[in-house]
Symmetry: C2
Subunit: 597 residues, 2 copies
């Protein structure tokens, strides 16, 4: 099967223009250049690239994977290098980067829309520019002016690649245990020695240089997380002109055999007295890395719905095409031997689940990305504070809820294919295998849930959650009309459950911290459901207003129909999650580890 | 990682001896030879074989898959042929087959326990004897005495393999469209011509002959499902001594590239005027095949929990071994750099979910298999009728609920591994990829759900569901003691939800059949949850009675702890499923197929 992905431009326009009305921020930096025509032109050009260049080479990446030779050089799949260069030349990876370093300075929310297309079309490919821009963001936030001038223009242009090096064989989540060493040299540089694993895009043939950001411990540094520093360790040391010079003493020691994202090189990276330079202050490396990780987490949440979108398109086409059985309510296709399987309610259920999820999740992702823009660019300090609070609070939810549910939706897409879904011919299996990593990397979904209940709820004197709950209360207070009131009621209902769950945690977790951990997964999912309901309510209000104003674009009626499905079929999960939160830790932790067998 | 599967013999004994007390049926055929010592000896020998022979070659099957040469011959992975011969020689595939044809005539419930071990250790391998015995069961039910005498002894001994050939490229679920032709010959045989796809175990090097059971349409037969006949089409035509003679004109035209179960050859089978013989009557082939399919569905449900058991063992070992982070309630491992991740509640949640599911599911599987034995062997006609009703009613639930939830549990096992779960090194990925087919084959889970609401609920004047509900009511009526009453209350609660859902379907589906289809998935899951709760209540009563009688085996206390977790964390799903059933079809079917985009 060819990958016939079609970018959902109209749907993205609906969110950007109609729901979020990003035009209202036209006075802010970046937004000034993002008028509706520019936004539409960028979406349409990106769509062509994703559909015409990235989607067609996705399967080659899955089948061929990456190949490493004896010297540690890695070759990507057929056509990938050319596609990467085409992408770099078109300049769209620089969309939202700082113009001082060659970026276009456009809002991040627009960047997110474009990245959705890339991930839907070819997730493993998108990780190469994704990691590069993530590493650039860390340097932008923590590097010296000299480092920024040297690395950022080339990374933002994707002339050089970038990576993040955190994990070691014995430590992933718990970075305090990391052992990679940095020995100070007389010239101010450091010699880096150690092994890093699971380094996405760690080595490849697509760029003339690769800039590794490496967490390591300077000799004599304190133990644990307080002794970790960040280093920039390029594959080729820049010469005096800033061009790739001497080969650094680092290499790819092996490629990981993985379940999916075969097109992306997941490397063991061996550093053997490699030359690197400190980024930011000594022993303060984690802080810089976490800024980058937080941004990356939004990108992973995006992958969750981007893959669900691809699965939806794939399974919808299959369901319209595959003839099997007859409708329960009478033949729909009497002239043929059978009806298309889309007539069967259970197939429709799986399609509508995907559709309702993807459209709500897209709105959630873009709405959150807009908060990130407002945090940085708003001229109103109160707005900057509120948006910053929202970003902190909602990042773990965007990451975990959208990947957890996104993966379930990809699995439903596969299920619609029946036996064809299990074969590698149709592409459903690749999507499922690719999607599985999103629940794990950039911090597992369980770690995100613990971040939410353990840190984010109580942070800043509970200001973020208080602020967000006030927004929901105000929305409910405002009410709706005949069409939209059911959505408002749904926000009220899920929000009431969320408040009850929050109170339960507040009242019980101090007495026994395990209650917080025990409820974290379901609490996060209840929070995610509440956010999705709020998104659907905003979309419904927008669509209803358009229809009331006489707009006959069928997208608006479709939004209201899909939204009703969301209310009917997704809301019942709220009470379940609340009951599980309130079940606490007792039966979960009753057995000792030794008794577990 | 080596596959260190350990068969849960003690847990199976708990269900067989303590909960089901199969010794009480000692007067019935088959059960006479299944005294406790014999049962235990069989379980222990099977455990050794599964652990020592099948588990170690599972990964080779995944990595090497099956290889087809130009002539259509298929070679299985290293060690598989030898293991198959070892299994055949040990004779344990014949456990529950009719002694007239070389079987041991033991109860099917015991067979199911053994098959769990095989599936946990090496699912793809287990499909070779599984399909063989399934085909033998179809011949046993539908074949002539001559056919039985010719084929059954060799198939039951696994000297010859067997397959089921239903699916064609354009039809799977909807067999009425099948096109494979059968032309009658003067000698009473038929020439079979057509292409079948997705034929598990269709061609391999493990047996001297392979007996294909093929659905085809005799020239001039009625259209649709009323014109389908069943044929036995051996790879080598038996000679006058019943040994493999002339090669038949059929071959494996290709192997399917699949997501998992690589060790099993999934074949395109090309029949080109192949010689076959009618099994049973003309145009009555589907009925025989469906007897076999129904038995096979129990086996697929078993795979659901067998793979979850393997995932549980794998992830439990990982969680006890992997050091990362500290317990929220204080260091558990102060002398080491970190605590094992099993101390984290969210990891424990994923482990306890698996444990509570597997133990409940195992009881459900064995309890249902026992109904199958009683249907055939009880000397009480009322019991035979009741057990037959239960088998009909519960088969789609065992198949779909146990595979759907089982797959989720396997995914949780993978999640516990973090990044290691996504690599192919640790085996979690293989389990997930293997498990995914169980939701699809032998009738997709959606087709099972439709079978439940569309056929099974109303069948025989609603006698099966009335009978099963009466059993639950009586159980609730009987009540419990201080320890067990919460379980009884849970049965009452889920049963009340199930009755409400049943009433809703009865009251609404006639007016609009789509309501039945729209609610089928959630109704089936609500039914499955009710059955699981009933199983846990029976297990809890058994364990509590043992403890009250002074038995200090720690398994009984563990059952009560795991059962409490089940009540806390699984029961909340019931109300969610009920709400979705009652949501009906309106919002699901609101858009036309054309409007879906």
């Amino acid at each position: 099967m060819t990958n016939s992905y079609r970018a959902p431009v109209r749907d993205q326009q609906f969110v950007l223009h109609d729901v979020l009305d990003i035009g209202q921020y036209g006075d802010l930096p970046g937004f000034r250049d993002a008028d509706a025509d520019t936004v539409d032109a960028i979406l349409e050009e990106s769509a062509k690239f994703a559909e015409g260049v990235l989607a067609p080479i996705s399967k080659a990446g899955d089948v061929q994977g990456c190949v490493r030779d004896e010297d540690g050089n890695v070759t990507t799949a057929d056509g990938w290098k050319e596609a990467f260069q085409q992408m770099a030349e078109a300049g769209w990876t620089a969309l939202s980067s700082d113009p001082e370093y060659g970026g276009q300075g456009l809002p991040h929310v627009l960047n997110l829309a474009v990245n959705e297309m890339v991930s839907s079309a070819n997730m493993a490919f998108g990780m190469y520019p994704g990691l590069t821009l993530g590493a650039a963001a860390a340097l932008y936030n923590g590097g010296s002016d000299e480092q920024k001038a040297l690395y950022l223009p080339k990374m933002i242009a994707c002339q050089w690649g970038g990576t993040m090096n955190l994990t070691e064989p014995h430590c992933g989540t718990d970075l305090g245990m990391l052992r990679t060493k940095a020995a100070p040299q007389a010239d101010g540089s450091y010699k880096i020695t150690g092994q890093k694993i699971w380094i996405s895009s760690g080595e490849h043939d697509m760029t003339e240089n690769i800039v590794h950001l490496v967490l390591a411990r300077i000799e004599g540094a304190p133990e644990g997380v307080k002794g970790i520093s960040l280093f920039v360790v390029p594959k080729f040391l820049p010469d005096s002109d800033g061009n790739p010079g001497t080969r650094n003493s680092l290499k790819c020691g092996g490629l990981e055999e993985k379940m999916g994202i075969h097109g992306n090189a997941t490397c063991v990276m061996d550093y053997d007295d490699a030359t690197g330079w400190l980024v930011g202050e000594e022993n303060k490396g984690l802080k810089i890395m976490f800024i980058m990780m937080n941004e990356a987490r939004l990108g992973v949440g995006l992958q969750g719905y981007a893959l669900a979108e691809a699965a939806y398109q794939q399974s919808l086409a299959f369901a319209k095409d595959r003839l099997q059985g007859r409708s329960l309510t009478g033949k729909k296709n009497p002239e043929l031997a059978a009806d298309p399987i889309i007539v069967h309610p259970d197939v429709r259920r799986m399609l509508m689940d995907q559709k309702a999820f993807v459209e709500g999740a897209r709105c959630f992702g873009l709405w959150t990305a807009l908060q990130g823009d407002l945090e940085k660019k708003s001229d109103d300090p109160a707005q900057r504070e509120k948006s910053g609070d929202y970003m902190a609070l909602l990042t773990p939810i965007v990451k975990s809820y959208l990947t957890g549910k996104g993966y379930d939706m990809v699995s439903q897409g596969l299920q619609i294919h029946g036996g064809s879904g299990f074969t590698e011919e149709w592409g459903a299996s690749q999507l499922l295998r690719d999607a599985r990593i999103t629940l794990i990397y950039e911090g597992t979904n369980g770690v995100q849930a613990l971040d939410l209940v353990g840190r984010k709820l109580a942070m800043r004197g509970m200001r973020p959650i208080t602020s967000f709950f006030a927004e929901l209360d105000a929305f409910v207070e405002e009410g709706g009309n005949e069409t939209t009131q059911p959505y408002v009621d749904a926000v009220a209902a899920t929000h009431a459950q969320l408040k009850q769950g929050t109170d339960w945690l507040m009242n019980n977790a101090l007495e026994n911290f395990d209650h917080a951990g025990a409820g974290s997964h379901d609490y996060l999912n209840l929070f995610g459901l509440t956010c999705m309901t709020y998104m659907w309510a905003m979309m419904a209000k927008t669509a209803a207003a358009k229809i009331a104003a006489g707009d006959t674009d069928p997208i608006y009626a479709a939004k209201l129909q899909t939204g009703r499905y969301f209310l009917d079929r997704w809301l019942p999960e709220g009470a379940m999650h609340l009951a599980k939160v309130e079940a606490g830790a007792d039966s979960m932790m009753a057995m000792t580890a030794d008794e577990m067998c």
